[in-house]
Amino acid sequence: MSDEVEEREALCIRCPKGCRLVLKIGEEVIVEGNQCKIGEDYGKQEGREPKRIVPTTIKIKDAKWPRLPVRTEESISLDRVKDVMGAVEGVVVEAPIEKGEIIINNVAGTSVSIIAERDMEKIR
């Protein structure tokens, strides 16, 4: 059962060199193509569970702009990005909003919050 090894490629995003990694994902993750320890760690995380910050915008009322930029406070699992986008869709807030303010707690059950990226003053 643990003999099955999935092989896929990944680009290391930890430094400008951008090594093209080959990840062999079985019981353990074996990283090839990396040229340093940082690349190996990145590849292992990427093989087990790639994580990303999700930035997007939501509707805001009575503000300078019709959209408020928001993001996940921490990085979340890459395969949950679509769920997070779904959970954020249709959310409407009212100005004023402060930078860092929590807009949605525990978004899509990820235990990560969606926060505002900037202040947005109330405009009449």
Binding site: I13, P16, R67, R118
Partner: protein, 412 residues
Amino acid sequence: MKDVVVIGGGPSGLAVSSELAKKEYDVVLLERNDELGGLLQQCIHDGFGTILFGESMSGPEFADIFTSRARDEGVEIKLEAYVKSVKKKGHHFNITTVTPGGIEELKAKSVVYAIGCRERNQFEIKIGGTRPAGVYTAGTVQRLVNLHGILPGKDVVILGGGDVGMIVARHLFLEGINSTLMVYPEEFFSGLPRNAQQCILDFDIPYRPRTIVRNILGDKKVKSVELVEVDEDWAPIKGTEERYSCDSVILSVGLVPYSEKLEDLGGKVDKNTSGPIVNEYFETTIDGVFSVGNLIQIFDYVDDAVKTSFIAADGVEKYLEKESEKNLGIKLKPGDNVMTVTPQRVDETTGEKFSAFFRPDIEKENPKIEILSGDDVLERHVKRYVRPSMLEEISISKDILSGEEEVIIDVR
């Protein structure tokens, strides 16, 4: 009479005005828009600040740090102030601005241009076809989507594999548009590998290397594009033409420093960078006129662009204190395998070291970076890896330059 007028309230303009206000100069910051932060307000993705602050933040978050600094340091900020003209009168400058309250005149001892860059457009890259609506630059789309909440279309073709195009492709994909296709003439994305990974490969967004948009077709609105494959020299390959249906075309085909305004004032421009010729303090060829940020050249990271502001602030201080007479000094030029070098001029008589930025023309592991005078190697630097998509920085000691007229940077 003000000590300094800074034109442009983006990250570099904010940083240079805060630094100068901290040095207790009387600083006015002019911004034509009605909010500060410039381009960063539309860059809602993360990745900013890793060099300066050791953490990855979004554009608005990064901008907020410098907006707060400018306010805290007491910079006089004028919003909705469009600079119509700057004229040199003896040892000072007359600046004419157009504001909602009418025309305002300012006098200053020195001027810092922080007016950034603009996007290259369809007329600069020779795309044929009709002239329908639905053709955008990537930055315009970013602004429409992130600030106004408007999507450009449902079926989008993006031309160019640069960073802005990749970031926009991810936003559009996540916003749920119908289809996205990215095409570009290079063999691989020309932007940073990290963006290729986290914007395109992460979401399996379709892309075609060695492909360009030759014609944009449609009567009133874009209906399709003609794609064609290209060879290594970007020449179209006959028989590979393909009609591809779409309702919008997004161009991500490069940024150009916005140096026309400085040229009007008499500043000289470097044809390699398209930005003004500057010395190591980013002073232009006009006494008392400085430039910072993406006006000098296109930086890959906002952190690097902002670093020029810190250096320029010291330069303005030297100018105002008359510590150094203007010395255009030694010429610095790109040599083998190098596209651009800044600064283009160095005064070797003041200070010990300076930062030089260069953009390599090749991709190479463990290259030698050589500072040359003719065939003599003055100094050798080692880098782990260089590629054209990454601007490189090296610190050069001034004592190696003494007695030289022209110095060249090579990558070998």
